[in-house]
Amino acid sequence: MLKILKFIIFAELFCSAGTALYLMILPNPDSVSIIGLGLLSILGLPIYFSSGIFEDAGKPSRHIGFILFFAGQSVCLLSGKSIWLPVFWEISSIGCLFFFPDENLLKKSSKSAAAFLFSSGLSMFFISLWIFLPDSNFARTSLLVGLLIKAAFSGFHVWYPIAHEGAPYYASACISGIMMNLPMLMIVKFLYADLHTMNVTTLIMILCGLGIFISGLSSFFAKDIRKSLAYSTIENSNFMILALVGASIWGMELKNKEIGDSFLFLFYFGLFHHSISKTFQFLYAGAMTEKAGSTKLDDLKGIGRTIGISPILSGIGAFSFALVPGTTGFFLESSFLYLNSKIFDTSSQNASIYLLVLFLSLTGLAMGSAFHLKFYLSTALSTRKENSFLITTEKETRDLRKVFWYLGILVFSVPVFSGPVAVSLYRLNLMKNWLYTLSAVSLIVMIVSFLIYKFHLYHSISKRQIWDCGSSHTGTEVSIPGSVFSDPVYFSVGRYFTSEEGEPYMEKYIQKYLARFLNLGKYWITRVESGDVSQYILVSSVSFLFSIFLIFIFRNYVL
């Protein structure tokens, strides 16, 4: 049975990769499907493989979850405007639910599953509206709303950190690394051409700036590692939507078309960077939280030293987000900055508004980078106070190493090829030399790193002694937690926007009022006697009639 399930998973991933390759040779290749399916097959494999490292490898529910998830995602990427889109999207969501612990369902896990389901249902409601209603501005707007909910866009993101809070590490990697791509690719597929006519681009641009800023701050100040990574994902998602809006705004202006095309490339590259690097980070965090039994960043101090992975290998994801030259993060953000300098040269009115967005974005991005540094430094390099022995088995360490090497090679190799490929595919004349330079720099970084390693150009430790403090201490007494990095900034910057736990005030209010709205049901429950069926029938009938009334109003008066 298990062998059959495994075979189906590998067949699905193989088919996704094959379909992506087949689509590439067609006369008019569909880049949305190619990129989506490509990322699914590239990242599906390490996520699936890593899911069996710490959990029972023979657990059938997990395998069924992966089958549903991969199948749902693949069909969604290939489907057009049809009922199959929400149906298979929901199938992939249900697949994800199989990952949540089914025994001793923890409060956190059930809360996460509920948040995930709620957002999925709400999003599918809006997407279904777009499918069943005639083509109009209203229908397109409802599609946009549905996709923005799924993309955890600024203001629509309330569910996202909660969904990650109690999810297993591989479920988080699936939701963030693979599932997050789908709504954004769907925006390109169905809305990109009409985005500038919907009169919302400026508003979306400003919200993106705010989203990057607030989620960057939240990721830096949050105490829970899963929440921090979730906020970092929200920051990335807003960044990619900003690139998409930039592509739409400037792509429609004839004289600035090249800027628009460059932004579109930035969006696609952003998907690669985010998917690969964030999958790495979630899996690395998962390896530690599984062993430490805690998701609090401060409890994880130094635990990276005890899982048997080299600190350089375990830091690749953080290096990418901290923009170290040669990584995908470096390639993406340096191109973003380069494009910004070109925007300053345009006479477009949007450039003035963009200045404000840029200010917010840069601060948020710096905060986001600092979070990844804080996470890495405190977990992988800080000394472990207790249990300094290896806490993983040999097999676990070996498997983890394989996964991290696979993702690490992607982080460093994608930038080397991206420049020439992008220039040939998108004819980006504006950024041609720039992209070539970035690819060359990335290649040089790889070669120099290899040479340093191969020819041992660094000194080997020959003598050890600690000079600091005295009192015969060995250094292990000092274990530096992550809060050491964020707490000093909180009172001067953070307190105006987030709570001490890193939760944005805005989000707290949205959650509060949403909970009040949803609690209306409690009011009804108090009035219903147990077994009073007629009451339930009454509620169902009223809801049904109200739905028909709404459809009637929309059909005849709104559309």
Binding site: F359, A370, T437, H459, R464, Q465, V493
Partner: protein, 290 residues
């Protein structure tokens, strides 16, 4: 003939980092009424350290071995960008990030309390300083021209003043950091290097000097970026480079004086001040754009 402009640049590339730390120390000593060490003293110290085998901490690992070299190479690359302009200045912050991460990783891996303290402060300076530096570079890299008027000159001076603030933070100079005190509790850069010795220390010191050279030259490039002397042909380009070099040589003198007359401010004050600088640059940018 265009190659002529590279002769002074090449000499500048070699000799400027050799002179900077000595000039700063000499000027500072003179301002305080002392004779001060010879100009090349910092390099004599580096030479002495280069001959010694490093002694590492009990918890040191791979970063203690590779970080000094990586830090040096990153700073060297960052230094080459503003001098030869082989690519956009936008790449400079990324190489400085690599240099910074090497240093942070070294300090954290050694695992001392002061390493942690210095790293924490360094991350704070990075978070608050990076956006300002990046905005300054983006503006300088655009072909945006400010009109030659009183207003234009005033805006240019204000922009340079804001850039200088961030350069002081990046170079670990007062009011953000004070390397003179040798009191670990007040330091940022030096606190991270407390456990470095021998060759390791020498590489970090050279990286720090190259970083300072890169930032000073970047500041000068930003200042003279939109001065158009190209109409004078090759002579104009040559003149541009000479003006930049002379300007760059005056900055270490000013830094030396600044170090002599100023003190490090309270740590709580720094985030507010950096935030104000960021808002100031934003306001300036908005005024210019409008």
């Amino acid at each position: 003939m265009d190659y002529i402009r590279y002769i002074p640049l090449f000499l500048f590339f070699i000799f400027f980092p050799i002179l900077i730390p000595g000039i700063v120390k000499k000027v500072r000593a003179k301002c305080q009424g002392r004779k001060g060490p010879v100009i090349l003293q910092p390099w004599y110290d580096i030479q002495r350290m280069m001959k010694k085998t490093p002694v590492d901490g009990p918890n040191s690992g791979i970063f203690a071995e590779v970080a000094p070299l990586v830090s040096f190479l990153a700073a060297l690359t960052a230094w080459s960008v503003p001098v030869f302009e082989w690519t956009s200045f936008i790449l400079i912050p990324f190489f400085l990030v690599l240099q910074r991460i090497s240093l942070l990783a070294f300090a954290m891996e050694t695992g001392t309390s002061f390493g942690g303290l210095g790293s924490s402060r360094e991350v704070l300076l990075y978070v608050l300083g990076e956006p300002v530096l990046v905005i300054a570079i983006i503006v300088s890299q655009s072909s945006f021209q400010v009109a030659f008027s009183v207003m234009g000159i005033a805006l240019g001076i204000l922009f340079l003043a804001a850039c200088s603030v961030i350069m002081l933070a990046e170079m670990a100079k007062p009011p953000f950091d004070d390397p003179r005190t040798h009191l670990e509790l007040t330091m940022v850069h030096e606190a991270m290097l407390l456990e470095a010795s021998g060759k390791t220390m020498a590489f970090f010191e050279i990286a720090s000097i190259l970083k300072m050279a890169a930032l000073i030259t970047l500041l000068m490039r930003i200042a003279f970026e939109h001065v158009q002397l190209s109409s004078l042909g090759i002579a104009g380009k040559f003149l541009e480079e000479i003006i930049m070099i002379v300007g760059a040589l005056t900055v270490p003198v000013m830094i030396g004086w600044w170090e002599a007359v100023s003190v490090r401010r309270k740590w709580e004050w720094i985030p507010e001040f950096m935030g104000m600088t960021l808002i100031f640059i934003l306001a300036l940018g908005t005024i210019v754009r409008l």
